[in-house]
């Protein structure tokens, strides 16, 4: 048996065990599995996976179960025909083994449709919970019509050692306003791979915020394609300790002129944790007057944590403004001394500065209860670290 076949063997068993679904979905599943069987799990010779070894995922045994999304405050049920029309069109798997694998297990999709011109004030929440020993393949399709507004909050959590392989597809119509949040608080021993693929319309305003807190091995992809005059914000915060590994891969594709993108990813690493930031910005030949800014900042609290940061700019147009910058640093000694000189203990000063580092990403979260919840969570987390 080849290495790939060895890896995919157990998945074949899980794949064939599934209940039947609608023929069009059945077809997609089959295509997804066939592609996954060809590709196998990526290894570190694959440039896209150079810093993330997924062998522990490939080696482990999981029983596939259908993910049971808990959706609150969604607009009226979407027309099932929309799923057939859009699914897999934005997130096509190509070379992407995990996307193909997710597609092989399509079922119980979350389909959200915000019709043209509709403004939904209340955030739509999608919560996923996973159980020990299982594989889940959450899949969400979010279709936002022209001039419509909405906010989506996805949350992932669970207990034990399990494998979440999620895909979210977003189609944002012209002039729509879409804010997307993903809060990942998986079990510290869980594996989490998630791909966000967003196709953004003309003059649409889009933001996505990835908050990565849990998981043993985590891969987060956020890929957005802009149209003319689109404004995209791609932000992330990753906070890892122990032996956690989090890999953030983003692609911001300026396909048309006059697009604006702002990207800010911040990471806090402690103990022997590792993080990757790979941010690709593509400015196509037609995409003149693109304005793009990318920032990746890392705060490293221990001597043993490892960060690999890699900006990748592919600029094919000549009249553009693109800036990028990455920093890796420790807590500022002068700031620590300033706090201490006012009576604040060294450990408390450290936790305060660590919290402050994350604050500007948190401040950008426009959902008040989510922001408060994260503030509280982070504050307590850093306080614990400070006390330890």
């Amino acid at each position: 048996m080849s290495a790939v076949a060895e890896q995919t063997g157990q998945w074949l068993a899980e794949f064939t065990k599934q209940d039947a679904v609608a023929p069009w979905m059945q077809e997609l599943r089959a295509a997804g599995f066939a592609r996954f069987a060809e590709l196998g799990f990526p290894n570190t010779h694959n440039e896209e996976w150079r810093f993330t070894n997924v062998a522990p995922i490939a080696r482990a045994q999981f029983a596939h179960v259908a993910s049971i999304p808990h959706v609150t405050d969604a607009p009226v049920a979407a027309d099932p025909a929309l799923a057939e029309q859009y699914l897999g069109k934005v997130a096509s798997f190509g070379e992407h083994a995990f996307l193909a694998l997710n597609t092989a297990f399509l079922k119980d999709l979350v389909v959200i449709h915000v019709p043209r011109g509709t403004v939904i004030e209340k955030p739509i929440r999608i919560d996923y919970t996973a159980a020990d020993g299982t594989h889940v393949a959450p899949r969400a399709l979010i279709i936002v019509g022209a001039d419509a507004h909405c906010t989506i909050v996805e949350s992932y959590s669970g207990t034990g050692k399990y494998f979440t392989n999620a895909v979210t597809e977003i189609v944002a119509g012209d002039r729509s306003v879409v804010d997307h949040y993903k809060v990942q608080r998986e079990d510290p021993s869980a594996f989490h791979v998630a791909t966000l693929q967003a196709q953004l319309g003309r003059s649409a305003t889009f933001s996505t915020h990835s908050i990565a807190l849990g998981g043993a091995i985590v891969r987060n992809e956020a890929n957005v394609v802009l149209s003319e005059g689109t404004d995209a914000t791609v932000n992330g915060l990753y906070i890892v300790n122990g032996t956690q590994h989090v890999d953030n891969h983003t692609v911001i594709d300026h396909a048309k002129p006059h697009g604006t993108s702002h990207e800010m990813y911040k990471g806090i690493l402690d103990d022997k944790s590792a993080a990757v930031f790979n941010g690709r910005i593509i400015v196509r030949k037609d995409a003149q007057k693109t304005d793009s800014k990318q920032t990746n900042k890392n705060l490293v609290l221990s001597d043993d944590a490892v960060i690999d940061t890699k900006p990748e700019l592919q600029i094919l147009a000549d009249d553009v403004r693109c800036t990028h910058g990455a920093t890796i640093g420790q807590l500022d000694a002068e700031s620590l001394f300033y706090l201490q000189s006012r009576g604040i203990g060294k450990q408390q000063a450290r936790s305060l500065l660590t919290y402050a580092f994350a604050q500007d990403v948190i401040d950008r979260i426009q959902v008040p209860d989510l922001r408060e919840q994260l503030e509280k969570y982070l504050f307590e987390k850093f306080h614990e670290v400070a006390r330890a």
């Binding site: 500022d332 000694a333 002068e334 700031s335 001394f337 300033y338 706090l339 201490q340 000189s341 006012r342 009576g343 604040i344 203990g345 060294k346 408390q348 000063a349 305060l352 500065l353 919290y355 402050a356 580092f357 994350a358 604050q359 500007d360």
Partner: protein, 257 residues
């Protein structure tokens, strides 16, 4: 017992000796000005007293109310009543001025066996002090010193001093970068805080500040030593004759080069 007793203090930065035997006694209520050219060791002295890690004390002693000051961590010095007004106050994005100062005040109060203040009591407590320093409420809600003008930063230092009510305040070149109006405001704040129980060490390059904060004693520091001490008239002599009048090069860094 004197409040502060510095005896033959030596300190280095890396390999370089900056303080070469400083002795100084400060009694409660006294205001001492430390003057000197650039590179004379003024800021080093201020930093050593506040516990800045950059400096290594290689000799001598410092006692504060009879206790060995040098063995205390910076936060313990602050809790014991020592306050350093920074020459370059640090910007801390992400921490609100109010949160920071309330945390500082409460740790100090706690160490003194006093009850901690909640947000409401804290605001009541700081209101007068804000008026004193002409501080806007919005300055309290902004991140510590972030985006503050030079004058706002220095005012914020003295405001913090007013809130934390130290026994020994060390003002490190608080006048630097201030225009005359800002200087008067800062000096007014400092003068309001003068009391028979509170001592101050005012570090400055220029005599100008001492027109507004009139010291009891003036010490001239040069080459890491106090070369001359006197009353406030010594500052005036310096104003007239310059450091050269005392036979000191204006800029020791240059002189050494």
């Amino acid at each position: 017992m004197s409040l502060l007793e510095i005896n033959d203090l030596h300190a280095t930065v890396g390999e370089r000796e900056i303080l070469k035997g400083i002795s100084l006694t400060v009694n409660p209520g006294e205001v001492h000005a430390i003057m000197g050219p650039n590179g004379s060791g003024k800021s080093t002295l201020a930093g050593v007293l506040a516990g800045r890690e950059l400096y290594n004390v290689t000799g001598g002693s410092v006692t504060y109310f009879g206790q060995d000051l040098l063995e205390l961590a910076p936060e313990d010095r602050a809790r014991a009543g020592i306050f350093l007004a920074f020459q370059y106050p640090v910007e801390i994005p992400g921490v609100s001025n109010m949160y920071f100062l309330k945390a500082a005040l409460n740790t100090i109060r706690k160490s003194q066996g006093l009850e901690e203040l909640d947000a409401f009591d804290f605001l009541t407590f700081v209101r007068d002090k804000m008026t004193l320093m002409n501080m806007d409420q919005t300055l309290l809600n902004r991140p510590v010193n972030t985006g503050f003008s030079g004058g706002e930063k220095k005012r914020n230092e003295i405001f913090q001093m007013a809130v934390l009510e130290p026994k020994l305040a060390i003002l490190d070149e608080t006048d630097s970068g201030l225009d005359i109006d800002a200087l008067k405001l800062v000096a007014h704040g400092v003068n309001t805080l003068r009391s028979p129980e509170r001592s101050m060490i005012v570090v400055t390059h220029y005599q100008r500040l001492l027109d507004y904060i009139v010291p009891d004693f003036v010490h001239v520091l040069a080459g890491g030593k106090i070369v001359k001490s006197g009353g406030k008239e010594l500052a005036l002599q310096l104003e007239k004759e310059g450091y050269a009048g005392l036979g000191i090069a204006e800029d020791e860094e240059v002189a050494l080069a």
